[in-house]
Subunit: 235 residues, 2 copies
């Protein structure tokens, strides 16, 4: 049975790394001692070692051990034998590129479908959707495909941001970007605000956190769903 937390962000303004999620994670990982961390998204370009150290420090607070996937000789076997997996944020293109390069897409998909606990934040959440076509990241590397894990039957837009009133900047709003996406693609998009996450258990997908999420479906006006709404009808 699938068992995931798909979080918009690792960090909310004014608090430490993963702090806002620690109570939830303590419960989520209660039967687990060791978490395998996938540091491939490299926020600000930091090394796999440095990023893993950061995750390690956060999980020490709830008495879990963290080991980076790059510390294993065989990353496919590391995924197959992991008790639990956490994929951190950073650049979604860099993350997906490295997963394809190391031939990890199918193994990762398989273990997550079969119930290995999975936590994603930001880029690590983006790849749980059907494709990364709705990432906010800069395309700094060219992955062999935009197809991602497809653990949920829609796309995710993490760090969802409402239009800023009277913004003098002429770049597109997030809503405009996602509506442009729907000129070329038909799957729904879940705009997850910072502080929100999806709790996936088997076929159930529930919005968690205090905020509402914005849902974009093909040929429909976007709408808000409140926290604790079941999203499993979206596809």
């Amino acid at each position: 049975m699938k068992n995931l937390i798909i979080a918009s962000t690792s960090t909310i303004h004014g608090s430490g790394y993963l702090d806002y999620l620690l109570d939830e994670l303590s419960e989520f990982y209660k039967n687990v001692e060791n978490i395998m961390f996938i540091p491939y998204a490299r926020p600000s370009g930091i090394s796999h070692d440095d990023y893993t150290k950061k995750a390690k420090e956060a999980f020490l607070k709830i008495n879990k051990n963290v080991k980076g996937i790059h510390e294993f000789a065989n990353p496919i076997e590391a995924i197959q034998s992991a008790e639990a997996i956490f994929t951190g944020g950073g650049n979604t293109f860099v993350l997906l590129y490295q997963l394809y390069k190391n031939q990890l897409i199918e193994p990762l998909k398989k273990v997550v479908q079969n119930g290995t606990l999975y936590l994603g934040t930001s880029a690590g959440s983006n790849i749980c959707g059907l494709t990364i076509n709705t990432t906010n990241d800069m395309p700094i590397v060219y992955p062999p495909s935009f197809k991602s894990l497809g653990i949920v039957p829609f796309n995710i837009n993490p760090h969802y941001l409402d239009p800023i009133p009277n913004n003098p900047h002429m770049g597109e709003t997030r809503e405009t970007r996602i509506q442009e996406f729907h000129h070329f693609n038909t799957q729904p998009v879940v705009g997850l605000r910072e502080g929100s996450w999806l709790r996936v258990e088997g076929e159930s997908i529930i919005l968690k956190g205090e905020l509402s999420a914005r849902i974009f479906e093909y040929n429909k006006a976007p709408f808000e769903v409140e926290s604790n709404t079941e999203l499993n009808r979206l596809k």
Copy 2:
């Protein structure tokens, strides 16, 4: 001899489409009657016809005729016989995808290298760089490559945006994104603020408009260059 205007944006806050550039364009296009418009970037997903109509209305103010590339039976021949070309903004991935699909990259590169007047705004400017790896756009379609025209020997980041002080949103700043780009790529990036443009004449590349631009070079601290600075040493 190359002869281009590579503009950050088509529109600055509080004024109409292309208004801030019209004096410059009147001079740029003074020996030209007809401009071929490339509407492929489809901002907000608008049709090629509607987008061309918008460009047509703007250029009527300086007595130029505009015809969309999609109105020609053969787009390669249309590029080869154009007096002048304007590529509008929108989504850079959609624009590049369509240029590849219609096999226009090489023909477009060739005529621009040989002196056909070229105006780009936003996405239409982005493709003048070496690659589109520094676009701000959402990757709503998957182009066969991120390589673009390479008319200038660096990358462009249009709509360059300074960090917003005390922003509670945890997404990366533009500067962070471009620095992440330099973990995987070595070419310089020119951050062009809205209202700025590059005037390219032969080997000369000069920053125009009232604002400074932010330059990012591999393994160097980013720095500002003032308007009217020659940028041809960047490569």
